[in-house]
């Protein structure tokens, strides 16, 4: 399958500010792609350029083979978008909103199907202004799906949702993937990105600092698997003198960084033969969030002079 999104040497500047600094990436058709980064990294600017809401300063952007800025009219029939800070008309109801969109796109209104898909059936006839923040996002999600889009751009679709509503949105995203649609997702919840995405890219200060499958990124930038033994400081001392692997202690536990599965067996044998009391053991692995914080934090140290431009809202 070809690429749904193709970004080459994309840059966006606001005067002196380089909001997006010459980035390249692509999103394959049918995959869930997460675009991650701290606030002000250039996430939303990039996303809005892909959606045709902003114009690129330079570089090339193709979504389904079309230029979103100049060919927006043709493209918008094939994509669905929840923009960041989604708002809708306060005195229209979700049902009216969906019917309006279906009319404008000239497609059949699958009103009750979409309402139940996003979990808004019981609020179908309530004015938008009376809905909660999470329900507002759900209206946005339903509207993004009205035209059966080939590519969905979901800019923080789960921000402000309670855990149950978030799971509902995840189900919608997984359903979109099953139907072969492409999803371009931005989120601040890294566990969500790790769980839902086929591939991710992390943008920081307008540049992409990591990309690939979530597991590969964790493997590449994480500290690897560790064996954690619940025991006291004497165990730490004992392991440091009997094992050639890095050993760290953290309140009531000793962690040994592993290079292979055999390392784990070796460490456990040493623990057993030490004669020191211990309670339990487990293996721990970095999550995407650990890696993200480490990556972004590392770049921010001593990078004050090269401060990232603020994203324009």
């Amino acid at each position: 399958m070809g690429n749904a999104v193709e970004v080459t040497d994309l840059a966006k500047t606001y005067g002196e500010l380089h909001a997006v600094d010459h980035i390249d990436f692509s999103v394959a058709a049918g995959e869930v792609f997460s675009f991650l980064g701290p606030n002000g990294a250039g996430k939303t600017t990039t996303t809005e350029i892909l959606e045709g809401l902003r114009r690129a300063s330079s570089g090339s952007v193709r979504v389904l083979g079309l230029d979103p800025w100049t060919d927006g009219g043709r493209l918008q029939r094939r994509i669905g978008v929840i923009p960041q800070d989604f708002h809708f008309f306060p005195r229209l109801t979700p049902r009216e909103a969906i019917e309006l969109y279906a009319g404008l796109f000239d497609v059949p209104a699958r009103t009750s199907e979409l309402l139940s898909q996003v979990g808004l059936t019981d609020k179908a006839d309530a004015y938008y202004e009376t809905l909660s923040g999470g329900q507002h996002r759900k209206v946005g999600l339903a509207l993004a799906l009205v035209n059966n889009p080939e590519v969905c751009f979901l800019d923080e679709p789960t921000t402000g949702l309670d855990p149950q509503a978030r799971r509902q949105v995840w189900e919608v995203i997984e359903g979109l993937r099953r139907e072969g649609r492409t999803v371009f997702l931005t989120t601040h919840y890294l566990e969500e990105a790790q769980q839902l995405s086929d591939r991710i890219a992390i943008i920081h200060h307008g540049r992409i600092i990591a990309r690939g499958r979530p597991d590969d990124i964790i493997a590449q930038f994480g500290t690897g698997e560790r064996l954690r033994v619940m025991s006291g400081p004497s165990m730490t001392e004992y392991l440091r003198s009997h094992i050639d692997l890095p050993v760290e202690s953290s309140n009531g536990a000793v962690e040994v960084r592993l290079r292979s599965k055999e390392d784990a067996l070796r460490v456990l044998q040493v623990v057993q033969s030490s004669g020191i009391a211990w309670q339990s053991f487990s293996t721990v692995q970095d999550t995407l969030e650990d890696v993200f914080i480490r990556l972004v934090g590392r770049l921010d140290e001593g990078a004050e002079s090269d401060a990232a431009p603020r994203e324009r809202k």
Binding site: G72, G73, Q76, V81, P83, H87, E96, G103
Partner: protein, 366 residues
């Protein structure tokens, strides 16, 4: 331009408007309140019928009855009778806040029959110059008629110099086209200033730009809605004016261009004001700066002809002036030539603002 999309979007725009009662209040109810207030306060000033309190101390004579009949026929005064027992009419007028009174002395009929001079007493309020003029003119005219009849022995009561009445335009007559102009100005202006700045702040235009709806389709739907409101408001104002105040107004085809081009002009101007301001607050200020002077200086509440000359010059540069002049031509004077001329001027101004608004009004940021 896809008219099907305009038709799909129009009800959504209308619902958003109707479900906000404040907008409907200003568009339809407020002009009615204004006509009720201004109509009640000013309807006697310069109008054709001044209330005249008549104390007939000779009420058994046929001559006094005939004189009052003649006076009534002038249609300049509305006669009400005061009992001879109230005594001094001047005090009675002052106590009852009446501006004009007439005393027919006892022996009026007998004196006329004997050809001896007899004096009527006419009380007027010098501060109310227009009603004074009407009363004195009406009474004087009637007196002349009686004198002529007596001198020539022929009934000349129908020959009365002040045979006015229905040809005189009242204040309410001028107020109605003015208030239709007010509606045409205020409701598109205020709500477009509001819409164009608030929707931009709340990213609602961005949301619409994600659908196939285009800017010109959106603008067409909005324009149709304000034309619809203006037409309703025009019928309401003419109806209230006719039935409550007996105004001499008729809706003719000549008002049609003003109910279409007028909203187009002020929708564009409102959009322009909202588009050039950075925040909804500054947009509201700009909107008020444009709207309020125009509202008062274009002949909405008082005819421009009554303005001092320098203010008349100011009125001539305000677009609303031509809308109201044209509505006067259409509703009051049935003056096709005047209406066409004013419609043309309004159209030219509207096209200029429309083109500017379409150029400056953006849905997407660069």
């Amino acid at each position: 331009m896809n008219f099907k999309r305009v038709a799909v979007y129009f009800p959504a725009f209308a619902k958003g408007y109707i479900r906000n009662p404040l907008g409907l209040f200003f568009a339809l109810v407020f002009p009615i309140i204004l006509i009720l207030i201004f109509g009640a306060v000013f309807s006697n000033v310069g109008s054709s019928q001044v209330p005249l309190a008549v104390q007939n101390l000779d009420h058994n004579s046929a001559a006094s009855q005939e004189f009052l009949k003649a006076l009534n026929a002038t249609q300049a005064v509305q006669v009400s009778f005061v009992s001879p027992t109230v005594g001094n009419l001047s005090n009675y007028l002052a106590q009852n806040n009446l501006e004009a009174g007439l005393v027919i002395p006892a022996g009026f009929g007998a004196a006329l029959a004997n050809h001896t001079p007899v004096h009527l007493l006419v009380f007027t309020n010098p501060a109310a110059s227009s009603s004074t003029g009407l009363v004195l003119g009406a009474v004087g005219g009637t007196v002349n008629g009686v004198n002529l009849e007596l001198a020539n022995g022929q009934p000349l009561l129908s020959f009365i110099p002040l045979n006015v009445g229905s040809q005189l335009y009242t204040y309410v007559d001028y107020l109605i086209p003015g208030l239709i102009g007010f509606s045409v100005l205020v409701s598109p202006m205020f709500s477009m200033v509001n819409v164009s700045s608030m929707w931009r702040r709340d990213n609602l235009f961005r949301q619409l730009s994600l659908t196939p709806l285009t800017r010109s389709e959106w603008l067409t739907a909005a324009l149709l809605w304000y034309i619809f409101l203006s037409v309703i408001s025009a019928f309401l104002l003419v109806g209230v004016g006719k039935f409550l105040f007996g105004a001499h107004v008729t809706i003719t085809w000549l008002v049609v261009p003003f109910l279409i081009v007028g909203p187009m002009l002020f929708v564009s101007l409102g959009l322009l004001a909202g588009s050039v301001s950075k925040t909804p607050e500054s947009a509201a200020v700009i909107g008020n700066i444009i709207t309020f002077p125009m509202m008062f200086l274009s002949g909405t509440f008082f005819p421009v002809a009554d303005f001092p000359p320098y203010l008349q010059n100011v009125a001539h540069v305000l677009p609303l002036y031509y809308v109201i002049q044209g509505l006067n031509d259409g509703i009051l004077f049935n003056n096709a030539a005047g209406a066409f001329q004013n419609a043309l001027i309004t159209l030219i101004i509207a096209v200029v603002f429309f083109v500017l608004a379409v150029r400056l009004f953006r849905w997407r940021d660069e």
